[in-house]
């Protein structure tokens, strides 16, 4: 039901940009299931994430974009997830953190990685360990490597989304422009 409600809201928001009724918004789907707009509406790119009763919707013109949102919570298998899905260097960085910083750092890393994958449209077909992001407190938010190289990292912008102390969120958009980010509350 969250999916259905979220998709209804997405139609409403897209309708506001396109000045058309929500039911006239036409979706198509990429190979990995990422939705996009068809026909003359196609210039608006978007992505959606929801977690524990909260949804974020990201919009941009003519660029790939991905957004991810997670509520910060204790995960009993957090360390095993890090050791299975993060790169070797990310694992070292994670384990070097004080224990009381690891949970927030984990969700910072996870949302930044998921946002990148969603921007690429690859779903989870690209292993999370094949690219690296910063996540330690105080480190600048950025993609460090893609496929073991710094080549290509300047094709993407990664930014955190400050929502509330209970959540971590981030978006990735194609291009290195000086992005102006507007944060809207949907009524």
């Amino acid at each position: 039901m969250h999916f259905t409600v979220g998709r209804g809201k997405l139609r409403t928001l897209l309708g506001r940009y396109l000045a058309i009724p929500p039911e006239q918004v036409q979706f198509a789907y990429e190979a990995h299931g990422k939705p996009y707009l068809q026909g003359p509406q196609h210039k608006i790119h978007f992505n959606v994430s929801h977690s524990h009763g909260v949804a974020l919707y990201a919009f941009v013109l003519d660029r790939a974009i991905g957004v991810d949102l997670e509520r910060i919570q204790t995960l009993p298998n957090m360390v095993s997830i890090v050791d299975r899905f993060f790169s070797v260097q990310e694992q070292k960085s994670f384990h070097a953190l004080p224990a009381d910083q690891q949970t927030a750092a984990f969700f910072a890393a996870w949302t930044r990685k998921e946002a990148y994958l969603k921007a690429c449209g690859d779903g989870l077909s690209t292993p999370l360990s094949q690219f690296e992001v910063t996540f330690a407190p105080g480190d600048a938010t950025k993609i460090i490597t893609i496929a073991g190289s710094t080549h290509g990292i300047n094709e993407w912008s990664l930014q955190d989304i400050a929502l509330s102390s209970e959540y971590k969120a981030a978006f990735v958009v194609k291009g290195k422009e000086q992005w102006v980010v507007r944060h809207w509350i949907s009524g």
Partner: protein
């Protein structure tokens, strides 16, 4: 409703995307009944 960071503002009636702009929208799904929301 979360206690949102201060940069979040109510959306105007009409919105338009400009080049080099990213719009992020917050929406709460919590007003939907829990029994339905978790179906």
């Amino acid at each position: 409703m979360l206690s949102l960071d201060k940069q979040w503002v109510d959306a105007p009636l009409t919105v338009a995307l400009a080049p080099a702009e990213v719009h992020i929208w917050y929406s709460s799904l919590e007003h939907y009944p829990r029994g339905i929301a978790h179906l």
